[in-house]
């Protein structure tokens, strides 16, 4: 994947206003090994090529210090617009300031920035993590009530990335909000929320903690994996603890096609909900916003935040979302 070299000297600004020859600098917090991020970037690239723009992607590999250097590099290369998938909300403050000083508009995607930095950006494109989590939570709660009845205790454990990581907090709190909003209708149900486990967003790291928490809590009812990436380890952990099966409800986040397929093939299996955050759509939208930013057309993103529409995939609707060639669920209308 070679990006495009050089600044926007080849195209006239009229061309660029339509997207032709526009150079978009894209700073990713990570790509290697993640389909999600790859799909995000691919969405961006595809949208860009459809309007004649190019995307120059740098990968910070999960290191904010390096991401700052990357953004500086993109500014040095003279890109027309920046799309930033920030590694953390405030760490890239110096880069936002540098972009502002260089007169380069900034679109952020997938991960939000601190409110203090938002005024210096054009638009934030993402799913609403809380709301998306809530979608999964609500479905999981419904299925739980169906399965376990409207009385008794429901033990829930969530597994996220790292202690003190924003994403984990947003996705988990959203999930619990959705979950509680459903079960609150049944006063006979008490929700017992176990301390959150962390799997570094990796399948192998998720296995041990889930296995052990399930061993110590054989009456576990709902497991919420905050990323599809960890599901391999989560499933294996539950299997090893001997509680994987009809007695458990598994909810997940991301909308990965593997999970969709699982629900389609085994509609009564543990996996009952997967909140989809549509990386492809986030990527295409980000590039659309980048073009708008170049044209200083704030009407395209009036609130500086554009939440893409997200959905939750369940065994009931899995068939309609399943596309063998995709890796993540896309918005139905964009297909």
């Amino acid at each position: 994947l070679t990006g495009c070299r050089g600044g926007g000297t080849t195209a006239s600004s009229e061309d660029k206003a339509s997207g032709k020859g526009l150079v978009i600098g894209w700073s990713q917090r990570g790509i290697s090994g993640s389909d999600w991020w790859k799909t995000l970037v691919d969405g961006g690239r595809s949208q860009a090529s459809s309007v004649g723009a190019t995307v120059d992607v740098l990968d910070a590999n999960g290191d904010t210090v390096r991401q700052n250097a990357d953004i500086q590099t993109l500014i040095t290369k003279g890109v027309d617009v920046l799309v930033i998938n920030a590694n953390d909300p405030i760490g890239i403050a110096p880069s936002i300031a540098a972009a502002k000083a260089a007169g380069i508009p900034v679109v952020t995607v997938n991960s939000n920035l601190d409110p203090s930095l938002v005024p210096d950006t054009f638009c934030y494109v993402a799913e609403d993590q809380g709301a998306t989590g809530a979608l999964a939570g609500a479905v999981a709660a419904k299925k739980a009530v169906e399965k376990f009845g409207s009385t008794g205790e429901i033990k829930i454990v969530g597994i996220g990335g790292f202690p003190g990581d924003v994403l984990t907090d947003l996705r988990f709190n959203g999930f619990m909000k959705g979950f509680n909003s459903v079960v609150s209708a049944d006063p006979g149900i008490t929700v017992n929320q176990l301390p959150t486990k962390y799997g570094s967003w990796k399948p192998d790291q998720a296995l041990g903690p889930i296995r052990d928490v399930a061993t110590a809590n054989p009456d576990l009812k709902v497991v919420y994996s905050m990323s599809d990436v960890m599901n391999g380890g989560v499933v294996q952990g539950l299997q090893q603890a001997g509680i994987y099966g009809p007695g458990i409800i598994l909810a997940s986040y991301d909308g990965g096609m593997v999970s969709v397929k699982t629900m389609q093939d085994d509609p009564t299996g543990p996996l009952q909900a997967d909140a989809s955050n549509q990386p492809w759509d986030q990527g295409t939208t980000a590039v659309k916003m980048a073009l708008a930013a170049y044209n200083k057309d704030q009407t395209k993103c009036p609130d500086k935040t554009l939440y893409i529409k997200t959905t939750v995939v369940t065994p009931d609707n899995a068939a309609s979302y399943y596309k063998a060639d995709d890796t993540y669920v896309r918005a139905q209308d964009s297909q």
């Binding site: 990796k202 399948p203 110590a216 380890g233």
Partner: protein, 357 residues
Amino acid sequence: MTNNTLTGPPRSQSPQAPDARPATTALDVVKHLLPKSYLLLVLLAIIIIGYYVSPDFLTARNAQNVIAAASITAVLAIGQFFVILTGGIDLSVGSTLAMSTVIIALTLQSGMNAGLATGVTLAACAFAGLINGVLIVWLRIPPFIATLAMMSAIKGFSYIIQSTSLIQITNQAFINAFSSGSWLWVRNPVAIFIIVAVIAALVAKFSTFGRSLYAIGGNSEAARLSGLPVARNLLITYTLSGFLAGLAGLIAAAQLQQGSSLIGVGYELDAIAAVVVGGASLMGGKGDPISAVIGVFVLATIINIMNLVGISSEPQLVIKGAVIIIAVFLSSAGGVQRISGFFSSHFGRSRSAAAAQ
């Protein structure tokens, strides 16, 4: 000048008759393979603590799970043991493990049969290990740096060949062979690591290759001057470490039913810590593979207990650090002797002081 042919001097040494009893009955073999007892005592103490603090700990299921999960690290640690025995270190095994999962997933996906795919994967991982060896032996890059660079390069390579993130493994023959199947009531991954451990122990103790590794780690110049093929054996050792990392990767891939470059991060450090907890010296020439495996179980059991009693993951990191320190202090840093020495000298001194009054 004539030769002064004097009678030889009476030998000043009176050789104590060395024990000539043959040392190779089956019982002796087993005795030889068993590690120094107190590391086992440490493990036993941990198990007893686990029994008291968590009712779920000493259940058959949990024990099986801990052993099965530890089998990955144990296989890695055995490879690492041989490397450390020569005085080297292999930081690339975590990346090699990840590469192994990716290669097996890709080859299975392409429709290759499980046996062939396994062979291809192990060969590729052994080859990565061989590159480590070549860098160390021929380019004379220090092992730490050579394998650190390879850690990065192998990771990059497996990202490249992976191309998408998660490649599912659906081949049941493979999953059965390396994860879910069992053999005489022993789960396959456990059987694999037991076989590897026993072979390793026999190789270390009774083979010329193992003997020469002890010599290379103990004094590589003496080994060279004694005509041992130092370069060749180092190449074999790093190749073996890559091979075993590949084998560990197969177990991991079968367990997670996927190939992914994301896994295996930091496993090399766990393996190294286990080997040193098992009494080996990072300077080389000391230790045995069975102790390294016990080292793996010491660390794995403690984390399992902490998870079972619900200690949250932040203090777990602190406790893990402390356990490594204590275990290494007691094993390779000679802490047992020093503590007993301290007490006896303290006790002795106070006794003599009392006597002086």
